[in-house]
C-alpha cells in the first residue's frame, strides 16, 4: 500500500527525533567534559521534564519555588555535563527579603543555585515540602529525610546531613542563566554507603 504524504512526513519526523535523541544522549554520557564539574560560562539547561535539555530562563522559575532541576552545559562544545550525577543542580527563585544577608549577597534577583546532591549519603535532593521542624518549605532528601533551607545558604535544618549543600554562583544575561564560578563547598555525601 502506498504511503500517504502524512505518514511519510511523520515517519521522517520520528527518524529525525530519534537521531536527535541518540546524539544528545551520546553527547551527555560520553563526550569529553560531560563529567566535569560546572565551569564559569556554562549555561544551565533543564535536566528533566518536557523541556529537558532546553536553556533555563528567569521566566522559567516560579517565584517562591519549587526549584527547577538543571544540568550545566558547555556553550562552546554543546556538551551537557550529565555524565556525573554530582553535577545536578537545584535552581530556585525566592523573595530577596526572605534571604539571610549572606545568601542575599550571592543571589541574583533572588535566584539561587545549589548542588542537588545530599551531603549525607549522596542521594538526590528531590522534594520541596514543608519542613518537619518549621512552617517553611525546604529542600528535602527523601532517602534519609535531611532538610536544607535555601534562604540560609542551604544550611541543614533537619536530618542526618552533616553540612550544607554546595552553592553554585550564578549570572544572568538577557534573561538566561549561566554559571559564574565553580561550586562553593564540597559536592556529595561524606559517606557514600
Amino acid at each position: 500500500m502506498e504511503q500517504s504524504r502524512r505518514t511519510l512526513l511523520l515517519g521522517a519526523l520520528a527518524t529525525t527525533a530519534c537521531l536527535g535523541c541518540s546524539t544528545q544522549s551520546r553527547a551527555g554520557e560520553d563526550a569529553p567534559g560531560s563529567d566535569e564539574r560546572p565551569q564559569k560560562g556554562d549555561v544551565l539547561v533543564f535536566s528533566e521534564g518536557d523541556q529537558e535539555g532546553k536553556p533555563i530562563t528567569v521566566a522559567d522559575l516560579p517565584a517562591g519555588g519549587p526549584p527547577v532541576h538543571a544540568w550545566p552545559k558547555d556553550p562552546k562544545t554543546s556538551v551537557v555535563r550529565s555524565g556525573s550525577r554530582l553535577n545536578e543542580i537545584l535552581i530556585i527563585r525566592l523573595d530577596p527579603a526572605d534571604l539571610d544577608e549572606k545568601t542575599r549577597e550571592r543571589a541574583v534577583d533572588g535566584i539561587l543555585a545549589y548542588s542537588a546532591i545530599c551531603t549525607h549519603a549522596g542521594c538526590p535532593v528531590t522534594a520541596w515540602v514543608k519542613s518537619d521542624v518549621g512552617d517553611k518549605d525546604v529542600f528535602k532528601c527523601m532517602c534519609h529525610n535531611s532538610e536544607y533551607d535555601p534562604r540560609a545558604g542551604a544550611q541543614v535544618v533537619f536530618g542526618p546531613a552533616p553540612r550544607r549543600l554546595a552553592a553554585l554562583p550564578l549570572a544572568i544575561a538577557d534573561g538566561s542563566l549561566s554559571v559564574a564560578g565553580s561550586f562553593i563547598g564540597k559536592v556529595g555525601g561524606v559517606q557514600p554507603g
Partner: protein, 579 residues
C-alpha cells in the same frame, strides 16, 4: 666521631621504641593459625562459633552456649568495645571463627579483631565511587569459606578477601550501581559457591540470585526472581511489566543440607501499586527453593499475590522440625512483613501451606484460603493509582527484615514485631528512569501513622509454631522494635532494636526482662554468642540508621512525645559475666 646520642636523637629513639610497643599491643598484622572454614564446619558448626548469618544453615539464630543464663545474666558486663568510625545502620552480626571476629559496617568496611581482646588485626575499606548514593547504606556481614571472606558491596561487586590479611583476592562486578543495582546482604556460601541476591526493588530492577566460584569469582549461575518469556510463571505478568517488576532478593538465604536446597526470600513487586502490574507477579513476595549447583528453581511458595504495600518477604524462612497436628513436619516458618505468621511444609518437590495467622493487627487481609494458602485481600486497603489508600500495618510491615529466632529448648519463635502502625500513599504513574527512585508514588507522600491512643509500638513476641499460640509478649511503649533477635541455650533472648539505645536480655520462657545496658547508639544489628577459653561472650553492633531512623522520623511527626534524636555512630560491644 662522637657516638653518644644527642638529646634530640635520644628523644627520637624513645619515641620509636614506644611506637613499636604500641604497635605490638594493637596486634596489627596477619592472623596466625587461622582455621579454614570447611563444608563440614559450616554444616555442623562448633558451639563456640558463629560463622553464618544466623549461626546455622537452618536460620534459627540460636546459640547452644549456656554459661550465661537466666540466673546470672544480671552480671553481664562490657568486656571491650571498638568504634567502627562510621555512621548509619550497623546491621551485621559479628562473625566468629575460633577466636577471630569479622565485622562488616556501612561504607564497605570489614574489620578483623581478636574476639577475646578487641585488638585489631586488619581493616579493609572499600573505595566506593563518589557518585554512589545509597538508600540503605549498610552491610549485613561477610560470608566465610576456607581461608577467604566474601563481601557484597553497595556498588554491586562481590569481593573476596584473604581472611588472614584482609587483602583483596578477587573482585567481581555483578551489575551496574548507576542503574540502581546494589547489595547489602551477607553472601551465603554453599559448597564453594558464593550466593548473593540483588537489592534495588525501589529502582525498578528485575531481581536475581546469583552464584560465584569461591576460588576465582567466576559467575556460575544467575536465576532471575521474575521469570522471563517462555519460563513457568511468566504468565503471571502482563506486557513488559516483568522487565522492571522488582522482586529483589536482598537477604541471605537458608539451606537444607539434607535435601541440598537453598531457601531464598524474594521482595515486593515494583512499582508499589499492584494496579500497575496486574497479575500474581511470580516470584515476588515469595520463597524460592533453589538448587545451589545450578540455580534451578525446584519449587516456590508465594506468600501474597500482586503486592501493593512494599511488603518484601526477603527474610528466608526458618527451617524447623515441628510436631504439629500429630505429625512431624519439616517446616518453613516465616513471620511475614505482610503481618501473617506463616507455617509451611517443605518437601523435596513442593512447599505446602500448613497454617497462617495475623501476628499483628491488619486490615488488609480478610482471611486465608485454607486450600491454597492465598490470603484474601480487602480491596479497600490495597493501594491504587490516583487515590490515597490507608492500610495497617505500615509499609514496614508486621516484621521487616530483622530476623526472628527459634530456640530448640523452648520450641518457641521470637519475633521482633511492630504493632499500632498504619501507612498509606497515593499511587501515581511515574516514568521509569534507570538509577532513579521508582516507587509508583511520590516519596514525600508516604505516611506512617500511630493508631490513636496506642499504648505501645514494638512487641517482642514468643510464638509456639506447633500450636499457633502466643506464649508471651513484651511491649515497648515509646519505641518501634527494629533489630534482630537471638536465642541461647541459657534460655535467654537477646535484642536491641529500640530508640532508647538499650540492649536487652529476656527470659526465653516467660518474657521477663532480666538485663539491659544502654549503648552509644540505637541497635539494629544482630546479637551473636561465642566462646573462647571457657568464657561465653555476647557481641552486638550498636549503630542506628536506615529504616529504624526512617520510622523514628515518622514517629516524631505524630505528636506522641517521640523525638528524632537517636545518636548515630557505630560501636562493637562485647559482654561476658563479671568475674
Amino acid at each position: 666521631m662522637n657516638t653518644s646520642m644527642t638529646r634530640k636523637q635520644w628523644y627520637l629513639s624513645g619515641f620509636v621504641a614506644f611506637t613499636c610497643l604500641a604497635a605490638t599491643a594493637a596486634m596489627a598484622g596477619p592472623i596466625e593459625n587461622y582455621s579454614p572454614v570447611t563444608a563440614q564446619r559450616r554444616e555442623n558448626p562448633e558451639p563456640a562459633n558463629w560463622m553464618l548469618y544466623r549461626r546455622t544453615y537452618d536460620g534459627q539464630g540460636y546459640s547452644p552456649l549456656d554459661q550465661i543464663n537466666t540466673s546470672n545474666v544480671k552480671n553481664l558486663t562490657p568486656v571491650w568495645t571498638f568504634a567502627t568510625g562510621v555512621v548509619e545502620g550497623h546491621e551485621a552480626p559479628p562473625i566468629i571463627n575460633n577466636g577471630v571476629m569479622f565485622v562488616a559496617t556501612p561504607m564497605g568496611q570489614v574489620i578483623a579483631l581478636n574476639a577475646k581482646t578487641g585488638d585489631e588485626y586488619w581493616r579493609y575499606k572499600r573505595q566506593l565511587p563518589d557518585d554512589l548514593f545509597q538508600l540503605h547504606p549498610t552491610s549485613r556481614g561477610v560470608g566465610l569459606w576456607e581461608d577467604k571472606l566474601y563481601l557484597a558491596t553497595t556498588d554491586d561487586h562481590v569481593v573476596a578477601l584473604d581472611a588472614k590479611t584482609g587483602k583483596v583476592v578477587w573482585d567481581t562486578k555483578v551489575q551496574d550501581y548507576k542503574k540502581g543495582q546494589y547489595m547489602t546482604l551477607m553472601p551465603l556460601v554453599v559448597d564453594g559457591k558464593v550466593i548473593v541476591g540483588g537489592s534495588g526493588g525501589e529502582f525498578g530492577v528485575r531481581g536475581y540470585v546469583a552464584a560465584f566460584d569461591a576460588k576465582d569469582g567466576k559467575e556460575l549461575w544467575r536465576t532471575y526472581t521474575i521469570p522471563g518469556e517462555g519460563e513457568p510463571g511468566h504468565d503471571t505478568w502482563q506486557g513488559d511489566d516483568w522487565k522492571n517488576g522488582g522482586g529483589s532478593a536482598w537477604m541471605t538465604g537458608n539451606y537444607d543440607k539434607d535435601t541440598k536446597t537453598v531457601y531464598w526470600g524474594v521482595g515486593n513487586a515494583a512499582p508499589w501499586p499492584g494496579e500497575m502490574h496486574p497479575g500474581d507477579n511470580l516470584y515476588t513476595s515469595s520463597v524460592l527453593a533453589l538448587d545451589p549447583n545450578n540455580g534451578k528453581i525446584k519449587t516456590y511458595h508465594q506468600y501474597h499475590q500482586n503486592d501493593s504495600w512494599d511488603w518484601d518477604e526477603v527474610e528466608a524462612p526458618i527451617l524447623i522440625d515441628l510436631q504439629r497436628d500429630g505429625r512431624n513436619i519439616k517446616s518453613l516458618v516465616h513471620p511475614g512483613r505482610d503481618a501473617i505468621f506463616w507455617v509451611l511444609e517443605r518437601t523435596p518437590t513442593k512447599i505446602n501451606y500448613v497454617a497462617g495467622w495475623p501476628f499483628v493487627s491488619t486490615d488488609v487481609w480478610k482471611g486465608i484460603d485454607a486450600e491454597t494458602g492465598k490470603p484474601i485481600v480487602d480491596p479497600a486497603h490495597k493501594p491504587v493509582v490516583g487515590k490515597r489508600v490507608e492500610f495497617c500495618p505500615s509499609l514496614w510491615g508486621g516484621k521487616d527484615w530483622p530476623s526472628a529466632a527459634y530456640s530448640e529448648r523452648t520450641k518457641l519463635v521470637y519475633v521482633p514485631a511492630n504493632e499500632n502502625f498504619c501507612g498509606g500513599f497515593t499511587g501515581e504513574k511515574i516514568p521509569l528512569k534507570p538509577g532513579e527512585l521508582w516507587l509508583g508514588t511520590k516519596p514525600e507522600d508516604i505516611g506512617l501513622k500511630a493508631k490513636p491512643g496506642a499504648d505501645h509500638f514494638g512487641e517482642l513476641q514468643a510464638w509456639d509454631p506447633a500450636t499457633g499460640k502466643k506464649v508471651w509478649q513484651h511491649n515497648f511503649p515509646k519505641s518501634q522494635l527494629f533489630g534482630s533477635v537471638t536465642a541461647t541455650a541459657g534460655d535467654l533472648v537477646f535484642a536491641g532494636g529500640t530508640n532508647d539505645r538499650n540492649f536487652r536480655a529476656f527470659n526465653a520462657k516467660t518474657g521477663e526482662l532480666l538485663w539491659e545496658q544502654k549503648t552509644n547508639s540505637g541497635i539494629m544489628g544482630m546479637p551473636v554468642s561465642y566462646e573462647i577459653d571457657g568464657t561465653q561472650y555476647i557481641a552486638i553492633q550498636s549503630g542506628w540508621g536506615v529504616d529504624a531512623q526512617r520510622i523514628q522520623d515518622a514517629l516524631a511527626t505524630n505528636n506522641i512525645g517521640i523525638e528524632s534524636n537517636v545518636p548515630q555512630g557505630g560501636v562493637i560491644w562485647v559482654f561476658a559475666l563479671k568475674k
